[in-house]
């Protein structure tokens, strides 16, 4: 009996726990979702058009489910079908679907039939996470500023303590010096009192007189000085017009480090005309907006010691002002203000340089001439851009003749002439002729 009861009990417990488990798990799958998985899904699928707290191409999604339930009385099922096929909902005449479709000027939301209900649950769970829980900020209820005050003040504290230590050291040295002087004086007065004769060094000819009297030395020095000054004057004149290191402040602080470095944007994505034109082209603002339509602020990790996140976000705002983009309403205002960039690399008028020749035909990396652009916060002129610098490269660089029908005949003939099949230098192709760059 006992056993039976026991069995019954355990089976009851089992049954009960199963029910609880099912109920719990179902509520888990139906209501809760996994915010972490949701975040990943959100970033891959939704983030290009939606933000949590801000209207973008589509509406802000923070607490979207609760909001819809409260304002419109729409449930999760509605959301499932909307996300999987919004166009179908609009067509079927759903009232809210049409309202939102009209609100966003007929921009249909991409259909996501590949998302399962569970995926959507995860995403919704992510949207429902209280930002104050994961990342407390000023303004959150119960926000406690992190201990130790603001980061900047603690930095100041460090500076102050350094100064303090340095000051103490300086004081110590001053005291030591003072003590030495005092000791010296006391010893001297002792010696005087005791009548000790101090040994004075015998006075010879002063060194400058000796120098002047030695004519050979004067001559050598004069020659040396002349040569040295000649060297510096020559050096000075040779750098006239060479603006290596020129690093002007631009109207918009554009960081190549962030774009080309951190984000690995291809140079030629923005400087597309470098492929076909003589100029590499400063990208027009519509190219910036390809990405910046959806990137209105930088990630926290982008900020550096010199430039805060707010600073970078401000620069993006400058871009919006220039291109006439109303970020709040996600539309162009039509009021543009072209950006006046300061040109960094300037070749004189009489030198012809063609980017496409070097970039497309020769396959030269941008960095060869422009330096480690992807590390530059502010671009500076890396190369001297002098004729000697150009010529030197033409002397050393092999022409990329492989797989180019234009070169096949010329290459064959040149190879016969110079006897080395692969090593045809630009100079051997006539790359040193005056008229190739000056016309």
């Amino acid at each position: 009996m006992k056993q039976v009861i026991h069995r019954k009990l355990s089976s009851n417990i089992l049954r009960l726990s199963l029910i609880i488990l099912i109920a719990f798990s179902s509520s888990l799958s139906a209501q809760e979702g996994d915010p972490a998985a949701g975040k990943a899904l959100f970033n891959t699928n939704c983030a290009s058009c939606h933000k949590m707290d801000k209207k973008m191409t589509g509406p802000a999604l923070r607490n979207v489910e609760a909001r819809l339930a409260e304002d419109e009385g729409l449930d999760r099922e509605w959301l499932y079908s909307w996300i999987k096929n919004s166009a179908g909902m609009v067509k079927s005449g759903d009232a809210y679907a049409n309202k939102i479709y009209a609100e966003y000027k007929g921009v249909a939301m991409t259909a996501f039939p590949q998302l399962s209900n569970a995926d959507i649950d995860n995403i919704l769970a992510y949207t429902a996470v209280d930002p104050c829980v994961s990342n407390p900020k000023p303004g959150c209820p119960g926000y406690v500023p992190p201990p130790g005050g603001e980061a900047t003040s603690s930095g100041d504290g460090d500076g102050a303590s350094n100064n303090l230590i340095l000051g103490a050291l300086a004081l110590l040295f001053a005291l030591l010096a003072g003590a030495l002087v005092l000791v010296n004086r006391t010893l001297r007065s002792f010696a005087q009192e005791k009548g000790v004769q101090l040994n004075e060094a015998p006075k010879g000819t002063p060194i400058w007189k000796a120098f002047v009297q030695n004519q050979f030395l004067v001559l050598v020095t004069a020659i040396f000085l002349l040569l040295a000054s000649g060297y510096f004057v020559y050096g000075y004149f040779m750098q006239v017009g060479v603006n290596q290191g020129y690093e002007p402040v631009q109207e918009i602080h554009f960081s190549h480090r962030i774009h080309a470095g951190d984000n690995g944007v291809d140079c030629k994505y923005c400087h597309s005309s470098a492929r076909v034109s003589k100029t590499s082209g400063i990208p027009s603002l519509n190219v910036c907006m390809n990405c910046h339509k959806s990137i209105s602020e930088v990630a926290d990790a982008t900020a550096t010691v010199e430039h805060s996140k707010d600073f970078y976000d401000g620069e993006i705002k400058k871009l919006y002002a220039a291109v006439g983009w109303d970020d709040a309403n996600q539309e162009y205002t039509g009021e543009t203000k072209p950006v006046k960039w300061t040109r960094i690399h300037n070749l004189p008028d009489f030198a012809y340089f063609n980017h496409s020749q070097h970039v497309s035909v020769a396959g030269v990396e941008c960095q060869t001439c422009h330096g480690p652009i992807e590390e530059m916060e502010i671009v500076s002129q890396h190369a001297p851009l002098t004729m000697g610098w150009c010529i030197n490269c033409h002397r050393e660089t092999n022409v990329k003749v492989k797989d180019n029908a234009y070169y096949s005949k010329i290459h064959e003939q040149l190879a016969k002439k110079y006897g080395d099949l692969d090593q045809i230098k630009a100079a051997q192709m006539g790359g040193l002729e005056c008229g190739k760059c000056h016309y």
Binding site: S284, L285, P338, Y352, D403, Y406
Partner: protein, 1038 residues
């Protein structure tokens, strides 16, 4: 030497012991630096408060200041697009096909634009009409950037907005319609189907509308004759490539005769092919381009021309016309008639006489011989003006019968001989509107000036020849607040469509026949059926002009034969550079030297040497080689203008020439451009031939003539020519021998490496460019000169500088006169003199030798840098600024040049040009380069040269490099024909061929091996990369 002819560029050279010619032979730079002007004035120097020490201090300070200032580089701003149009890539040129149609010139062209700026006009290879871009069309792109253009519409003196203008004028037009008064549209010839339709709609709406088409230089006689015979107001389309024998009586068909554009067809027949080429006989009074190219040129007065034509008619068609002509002319006519009769359908006769009878006679002859070159189906539509309608209009206006006049593309106050009558009439019209790009002679008198856009900013369409259509599309947004005539018509018609859409509709409905509009727009041209439904607007003129043109056959010839001379006759003509004068504010065209007289910045009375002697008119050459000429009073029917005189070899005695298109005075021109005299004042009754009295006037005129300048130092075999007979029967050695030098007492050709001073570089790898110039095909039209200006940023230097031989043309077209008798004959004759008088007396004999100048033969030779493989200029440059590339081009590094000018001294071809001034930054030179708007035309791929450097033709290295780069980028081999220079691309006659001679299959490589090929001054051993092809003349009389 191909022939022993004596060549000369100026009559001055024929004078023995002319000190000027001698001086010029010795001095290349004719004027010394004028140091005397300020060092020679001792008194001023002594009174100057600046001592030598102070002077040195100032020099030192300014040098130091200048070098300090130079250390700081300028900050250059770059402003990218906000939204870059996806068709524009900065640094890459875009081409748009459009049509130039300014009422005088009509041509299908390609417009090269850079970053949205049109910078050059090129020929459209798809064009099916022969009207390719001439010098004026090439230069018209500069007219877009004319700083004197009207920027807004005007009401009288004040600015008005377009909306206000349209509101006011629409109201006034409606009032005038209601009161039943006449509304006149006075326009240029548009030959535009859509404009015709617009005007007919306008007529429907405003009822009493009279559309008058007005050509400044009228072809009314030819139109009337054609209309009488074929019942269509159009011009015959002559295809000279199909003509083996061409007889022209006063028709400058290589110039602007009947709309021009015949030169490419003509040139095709001029190149000897299988021993055959066309024969061209020209009867004319002025020395024209056609006369200069003719195999036989007979100078005669305009009256004699009429007689010649009558006689030709009777000889070819038959009939009994007896005319009395001097024997040598009579002879020539007989022979010409024989040749035409013999050629049959391969012959063609044309005339430029503004006389319905003359034009009828020509139509009859061509029809009679069934000339293949004579096309009456695909007729030319680009001239529609009717003299009688203009006369009626002016009478109507004066009588106060015209309520409103709307003008577009015309400038009657400048181009009408009776401009005062027009002005008086204009005052009596209730409403006058002038569509104009400028405040010009006419628009300044109109109540409203509707600022019109340039052709390159406009939409439109043209039917150049029947069934051959062209589209006009804007290549830039309007620079100023302008609207076209057609847009205004749409508004007045109450149509709110844009003109762009209107053109599209018209094309889709009536022209394209189902074809794609976008393709037509891309091509710029479309060949379809004639506009049957649309031509009604122009067809309505049928009742007028048919007056006396119905004269039946022989009658026209008989009427012609009645012509009698009434003293001296003046023939008005248009110059290649200036045309009808609408582009007078274009410095390129002003500085363009006339192909015949080689004079720029002027028009002038051309006088024969004999008449000049009688009238006491003289041409003098200053010691600098500059030309001065007397003034003459030219009086026609009581109207007198005073024009400078040029003594023109080949001008028929008793005839004079004066070109139209000069003497503009309006505010729409810069002061420098107000050159010459207005010959329209003498253009009475729209007849280019006028009876005239000439009298010497006081003073001497200073010409800007490049004629005596840059003489070729007496080296004679620069032009080689032979006759077709010799060419066909004898070997190359006979007529195109390579010069020889003595090596070990053996004659060795100069091309042999044994006699070369230099070692030859290996040029067999890569490209080796050659430019070939066929002297037979070159008509001297000068399109290449302007194309070179546009491509290479050649500065304009102005009249004063040209006079000092400081012209900057990289490409010049030398014109050589030669005596018809050979030099050898002259020499023999001289030796045969015995005694002073008598049959062989030297007194008369020497005079006869000079007669050569009465009717010289002419040869044109384009000369640019010859890109010598062994260049004399390169060896003398102390700073190695000029050097040779392995592709055959002679490079010039401007930044390296220090301006010693040794190279120019050492150049045997005199093709180097020195920048005496900073033409783009010196206010003395107020031409396009010194003008913010004018600078927009500058080609960004070519350096704008600075003061103190040499420059010269680069063989368009920027273009060859571009072609190479494109091929490299695409990874392909370059095909023949891809390499081009600005001049070779502009040459529509096929005289210039450019290419790579290392490509053995290329045309230019084949031309290099041609028997006619020679190099300039081959004996010098410079081994040029420019080839010339011996001129062959078809001198055989039938």
């Amino acid at each position: 030497m191909s022939s022993n002819k004596k060549y000369w560029k100026s009559v001055e050279e024929l004078k023995e012991n002319s000190s000027i010619v001698e001086t010029l032979k010795q001095n290349e730079f004719v004027k010394e630096i004028p140091t005397d002007e300020f060092l020679g004035d001792k008194e001023a120097l002594e009174n100057s408060s600046t001592t030598r020490r102070d002077f040195l201090k100032y020099v030192g300070f300014s040098t130091a200041a200048a070098s300090l200032a130079a250390c700081e580089g300028p900050v250059i701003k770059s402003i990218p697009y906000v939204v870059q149009p996806d068709t524009i890539i900065p640094g890459v040129a875009n081409y748009y096909a459009t049509t130039v149609a300014d009422g005088f010139d009509f041509a299908s062209v390609l417009v090269k634009t850079r970053e949205g700026r049109p910078i050059k006009i090129e020929n459209n290879g798809l064009a099916t009409t022969s009207g390719s871009a001439n010098a004026r069309v090439n230069a018209s792109v500069l007219g877009l950037y004319d700083s004197k253009r009207l920027k807004t519409p005007m009401k009288g003196e004040s600015v008005i907005s377009w909306s206000a203008l349209q509101l006011e004028t629409t109201q006034k037009l409606a009032d005038l319609r209601d009161s039943g008064r006449q509304i006149v549209l006075l326009t240029q010839t548009y030959a535009s189907p859509s404009t015709s339709k617009l005007i007919s709609e306008f007529k429907e709406k405003y009822v009493n509308v009279n559309h008058v088409q007005y050509d400044a230089v009228s072809e009314s006689a030819a139109l009337d004759a054609f209309q009488a015979k074929y019942n269509e107001r159009a011009l015959v389309n002559y295809d000279f490539s199909k003509a083996a024998t061409i007889v022209s009586v006063g028709a400058d068909f290589l110039g602007d005769w009947q709309g021009g554009g015949f030169d490419s067809g003509y040139a095709k027949g001029r190149v000897p092919n299988h021993g055959k080429m066309s024969r061209h006989v020209q009867f004319e009074s002025n020395m024209s381009l056609s006369g200069a190219n003719a195999d036989k040129r007979v100078p005669l007065t305009p009256t004699e021309q009429k007689l010649v034509l009558a006689k030709l008619h009777s000889l070819i068609v038959g009939g009994s016309v007896s005319v009395n002509l001097p024997k040598h002319i009579d002879d020539a006519v007989q022979k010409a008639a024989n040749q035409i009769s013999k050629a049959g359908s391969n012959g063609v006769v044309v005339t430029g006489i503004q006389d319905v009878n003359a034009q009828t006679v020509v139509l009859e002859i061509n029809e009679y011989i069934k000339s293949k070159a004579f096309d009456t189906v695909n007729t030319i539509q680009t001239r529609q003006g009717d003299n009688s309608k203009i006369a009626t209009l002016i009478a109507d206006m004066k009588a106060g019968n015209v309520g409103a006049i709307i003008m577009s593309g015309v400038n009657p106050m400048y181009t009408l001989p009776n401009a005062n009558d027009f002005a008086a009439g204009l005052k009596k019209t209730a409403l006058s509107i002038a569509f104009s790009m400028k405040v010009d002679e006419t628009s300044s008198l109109a109540q409203y000036i509707a600022a019109a856009p340039h052709n390159l900013e406009s939409w439109g369409d043209v039917e150049i020849k029947k069934g051959h259509f062209g589209l006009i599309q804007p290549t830039i947004r309007p620079l100023f607040d302008t609207k076209q005539f057609q847009e205004a018509l749409l508004v007045w018609n109450g149509n709110d469509m844009s003109y762009n859409d209107y053109v599209k509709n018209v094309w889709n409905e009536s022209i394209l026949n189902g074809g794609s509009f976008n393709k037509a727009l891309h091509d710029g041209v479309f060949v379809g059926a004639a506009t049957t439904g649309l031509a009604t607007e122009t067809g309505s003129t049928a009742e007028i002009g048919a007056n006396d043109a119905t004269t039946p056959s022989g009658n026209a010839a008989r009427a012609l034969a009645q012509a009698t001379s009434k003293g001296m006759e003046l023939t008005l003509y248009t110059k290649v550079g200036m045309g009808d004068g609408q582009q007078a504010n274009n410095p390129w065209l002003q500085e363009f030297p006339d192909p015949i007289t080689r004079t720029s910045w002027d028009n002038y009375l051309t006088v024969s040497a004999a008449d000049a002697k009688e009238l006491g008119l003289v041409n003098e050459h200053e010691a600098t080689g500059a030309l001065n000429g007397s003034y003459a009073d030219v009086t026609v029917n009581g109207v007198t203008i005073t024009s400078p005189v040029i003594i023109q070899p080949g001008q028929a005695k008793g005839s004079f020439g004066l070109s139209l298109g000069y003497g503009r005075t309006s505010a729409g021109l810069k002061e420098e451009m107000k050159t010459g005299v207005n010959a329209y004042a003498l253009y009475q009754g729209f007849d280019t031939v006028q009876n005239v009295t000439i009298a010497k006037a006081a003073g001497m005129h200073e010409f800007a003539c490049v004629q005596l300048q840059n003489t070729l130092m007496g080296r004679g075999d620069i032009i080689r020519e032979t006759t077709l007979e010799v060419f066909n029967t004898k070997g190359r050695d006979h007529w195109n021998a390579i010069p020889v030098v003595s090596l070990n007492h053996e004659e060795t050709p100069v091309t042999s490496p044994d006699v070369d001073l230099w070692d030859e570089f290996d040029r067999s790898i890569g490209h080796h460019f050659n430019l070939s110039i066929d002297l037979n095909a070159c008509t001297g039209c000068g399109a290449c000169v302007i194309a070179c200006h546009a491509e290479n940023n050649v500065p304009v230097v102005g009249k004063e500088e040209i006079r000092r031989s400081r012209d900057m043309h990289w490409l010049r077209i030398d014109r050589y006169y030669s005596s018809e008798d050979t030099f050898a004959d002259d020499d023999a004759k001289k030796k045969g003199f015995s005694g002073l008088s008598g049959d062989n007396g030297s007194l008369g004999g020497f005079g006869e030798l000079e007669i050569a100048a009465d009717n010289p033969q002419v040869a044109f030779q384009p000369v640019m840098c010859q890109h010598c493989n062994h260049a004399p200029c390169e060896t003398v440059c102390p700073v190695a600024a000029t050097s040779h590339g392995r592709q055959g081009q002679n490079h010039m590094a401007y930044n390296r040049c220090v301006g010693t000018r040794y190279c120019a001294n050492n150049c045997p071809y005199k093709v180097r040009r020195f920048n005496w001034f900073l033409y783009n930054g010196n206010d003395e030179f107020d031409y396009f380069m010194n003008d913010d708007l004018g600078r927009m035309v500058i080609n960004p791929d070519v350096t704008v040269r600075s003061r103190g450097v040499m420059e010269k033709c680069s063989m368009c290295i920027q273009m060859t490099q571009k072609t190479i780069l494109d091929a490299k980028r695409d990874g392909r081999v370059i095909k023949d024909g891809e390499f081009k220079t600005a001049c070779s691309a502009a040459c529509s006659s096929g005289a210039m061929t450019f290419g790579d001679i290392n490509d053995k299959e290329s045309e230019v490589a084949k031309l290099l091996k041609d028997d006619r090929m020679y190099h300039l001054l081959e004996s010098v051993g410079t081994k040029p990369n420019v080839q010339y092809h011996t001129k062959v003349r078809n001198t055989k009389e039938a």
